[in-house]
């Protein structure tokens, strides 16, 4: 008798497990992304948990390194065995997948969710191809923040600089105090990121767009661009000897420990400050350097949904879109990720001071500048990066030689 009940209970539980498994099978999402660092994986877990709560099964496929993850994603989509959704950066990285009709068109979801009203225009534009939306933006990263150590600045009697000429002066004062004025991860990517910060801060958004987007030869030959190049050249004197090859997080930790004064980076660098137990607005500050309060270069991450005819997968994808853009999910995800919600209608008062500043700056669309990867092909970005890193690391290279290289890159890069 007791045996019989046990057996039937056993069968029942098996049946339950099996049926819930079968149910989950219908909403099984394989997600390919590159969020592997501690903060990032905590952030992606927010998505996973929310999706699980709404009845789905999240199969996490994290691949370390954006380049590797994107290559894996593209290979699987082209090879005909795509994941349910896969990550890209906001921008042109998935252009050719759209051209080859390999991605699902999300126009209906975008219209239903009123994306064009709640997201910054240039973010929506960045996922739109020939009038149709092909990706879900999930966050906004500001890329040209200047992080500074408040105590170091106060001790040296320096105000956070508002423009780049001021920054050069402040740098000399810090140097006199024996502080490294500018902590830089001396790798080509970060050298380019710093250049873009100067370009948008000193040259303005128009020049930034003409150089990086339109590849305007006359803009490259203009006196304003030369001024930008010269200021960037002078900043070589503000970094320490150990800068070449340094990782960005090591550069950030120089500011955290007070060995250096400033560090230019995207808002993802906040993670390092938070991990060191520091609070935005107290031990460290973040500011935009540039004329008229500074402009914010914004990019971020998106998910694309490979085209499929499978009804179950389509429904799963619909659910994913819903989960990714849910206001609460957005807030929690972006708190952990260090970015700000892609929806401007989310209340950010519970976020840190830098995130609030970000959100406030972006309220005015004149302050929004699209990141280089939104307006430039990876190949041209790479060619610019080659030119920038050569100029930065060779103090003997003149501004004119560099401008020649930029103009050649504009001409030759596909």
């Amino acid at each position: 008798m007791s045996l019989k009940t046990r057996v039937s209970a056993y069968t029942l539980s098996i049946a339950l497990v099996w049926s819930s498994g079968a149910f989950a099978q219908q909403m099984k999402a394989e997600v390919l992304h590159w969020w592997t660092s501690a903060g990032e994986s905590a952030a992606v877990r927010v998505f996973a948990d929310q999706f699980t709560k709404s009845g789905g099964t999240w199969v996490d496929n994290a691949i370390a390194g954006g380049v590797n993850a994107r290559a894996a994603g593209v290979n699987r989509i082209v090879g005909g065995n795509p994941p349910t959704m896969t990550q890209f950066n906001t921008g042109k990285q998935f252009d050719e997948l759209v051209d080859a009709d390999l991605l699902r068109d999300l126009d209906a979801q975008a219209k239903a969710g009123k994306w064009s009203e709640i997201m910054p225009k240039l973010i929506v534009d960045a996922v739109t191809r020939e009038g149709k939306v092909y990706a879900v933006p999930v966050n906004i990263h500001g890329q040209n923040w200047m992080f500074y150590n408040t105590k170091v600045f106060a001790d040296a009697g320096v105000e956070p600089p508002k423009t780049f000429p001021e920054l050069l002066q402040a740098g000399e004062k810090l140097k006199a105090k024996g502080i490294i004025p500018l902590a830089l991860g001396g790798q080509p990517t970060w050298e380019r990121n710093l250049f873009n910060a100067v370009l948008v801060g000193h040259g303005g958004p128009d020049l930034f767009r003409k150089i990086n987007g339109a590849r305007d030869q006359s803009a490259a030959k203009s006196p304003q661009f030369k001024e930008v190049v010269e200021i960037y050249g002078k900043m070589r004197g503000l970094v320490d000897q150990g800068s070449p090859g340094r990782n960005w997080n090591d550069a950030a930790s120089l500011v955290i420990t007070g060995k250096a004064g400033m560090h230019f980076n995207g808002d993802w660098a906040k993670g390092e400050f938070i991990a060191a137990g520091q609070t935005a607005g107290k031990e460290y500050g973040c500011a935009l350097v540039g004329a008229s309060g500074g402009k914010l270069i914004i990019g971020g991450d998106v998910f694309v949904f490979p085209a499929t005819k499978d009804k179950g997968q389509l429904a799963t994808q619909d659910k994913l879109v819903e989960v990714l853009l849910d206001p609460t999910t957005q807030l929690e995800f972006n708190k952990k990720k260090g970015s700000i919600p892609v929806r401007m209608d989310v209340d950010v008062s519970s976020m840190d001071a830098c995130a609030q500043k970000s959100s406030a700056v972006l309220k005015d669309s004149a302050n929004q500048v699209e990141a280089q990867e939104l307006i430039s092909t990876p190949n041209f970005t790479g060619a610019m990066q080659d030119a920038i890193t050569q100029y930065w690391n060779n103090p003997n290279m003149t501004a004119d030689t560099f401008i020649e290289k930029v103009s050649a890159a504009m001409r030759d890069a596909s």
């Binding site: 080859a100 001396g186 150990g242 090859g245 990876p378 790479g382 080659d386 890193t389």
Partner: protein, 311 residues
């Protein structure tokens, strides 16, 4: 008339002999088939595919149009590729010759029946067990002016000591060579030591009787005997040169600037990061042609010519 049947039968015998031989070889041929297929399809096929793509305008996805030599024109106007090519020559020459010389000296040293031979052998060979990535990171720390050697010596009181090769554009490539030597010399030692141990003891006795100085025996008698080992070591080291990538990525990421860029990194970056398959495959094709040009005389001398001679 009488000879004809005999000849016919002998032809028949020869025929069945050949057939038997083919039948005997059949299992061997069958066993080799998968390898042959892999070589044909994967190696040769991918090579042809790569060369073909280098004549297209492919970016993220392969496209099969025809743009002639346009990618090659671009390639040879590209600063970064030219620097890469120059760097790989510097690295190749210094790394192979350095490994052979240091490896040989270490092998000779151990061959003197020193005490604690096992320890030395382990110490010399140990770096080879590290991956290039670990090697690169370790040397990056050690050579970093603010963290490693320079700071150490300065902290000991030599304030003016400077060793900033890692962050110096002109010298950075030599730090890659140093790390490469540290990594590869031990393997060369192991190969050459095996050769030294195989040298007939009677040779040494004969040389001693003749009163030839030891160094002379090494250079004029032993070294020629080690020729096959030297060739083996050179080939192994040369493959390391062609595929040099991870050491650079771990140590300098191609910098400062583009001072330590190498062709393999150029190819990888353009294929996977910059969505420029065509330029990447053009660079890969140039690498292949260079390797073929360097190897062809050797392959000819070693494999083709001896067959022409009577055994």
């Amino acid at each position: 008339m009488a000879t004809l049947p005999i000849r016919a039968s002998s032809i028949g015998a020869a025929d069945t002999g050949a057939r038997r031989r083919i039948r005997a070889r059949l299992p061997a041929a069958f066993a080799l088939l998968p390898t042959a297929l892999i070589v044909l399809v994967v190696y040769i096929g991918c090579m042809i595919w790569t060369v073909r793509l280098s004549f297209t305008s492919s970016t993220l996805l392969p496209k099969f149009d025809w743009v002639g030599m346009a990618q090659y024109n671009r390639l040879f106007l590209n600063d970064r590729f030219l620097t890469s090519a120059e760097n790989i020559v510097i690295f190749g020459v210094l790394f192979i010759s350095g490994c052979l010389i240091i490896g040989f000296l270490m092998a000779v040293f151990i061959d003197q029946n020193v005490r604690g031979e096992g320890l030395f052998r382990t110490v010399f060979l140990y770096p080879y067990s590290m991956s290039f990535v670990v090697t690169g990171v370790a040397w990056q720390w050690f050579l970093n002016p603010g963290l490693g050697l320079q700071k150490l010596v300065r902290d000991m009181g030599f304030e003016s000591f400077t060793f900033d090769w890692l962050v110096n554009q002109k010298m950075a490539i030599y730090t890659i060579v140093i790390a490469g030597l540290w990594h590869g010399a031990g393997l060369t030692m192991a190969i050459l030591l095996a050769g030294l141990r195989g040298v007939d003891a009677d040779l040494w006795k004969a040389a001693k009787v003749d009163g030839i100085p030891t160094w002379r025996v090494y250079t004029s008698v032993i070294l020629p005997l080690l020729r096959p080992m030297v060739i083996t070591a050179t080939v192994l080291l040369a493959t390391g040169v062609v595929k040099l990538y991870d050491l650079v990525v771990a140590m300098t990421l191609g910098g400062p600037g583009i001072a330590t860029e190498v062709p393999a990194k150029f190819v990888m970056d353009h294929l996977f990061e910059r969505n420029n398959i065509a330029l990447g495959t053009a660079a890969a094709t140039i690498m292949l042609i260079t390797v073929v040009i360097v190897l062809a005389p050797w392959v000819y001398a070693r494999y083709v010519r001896p067959q022409g001679r009577p055994a």
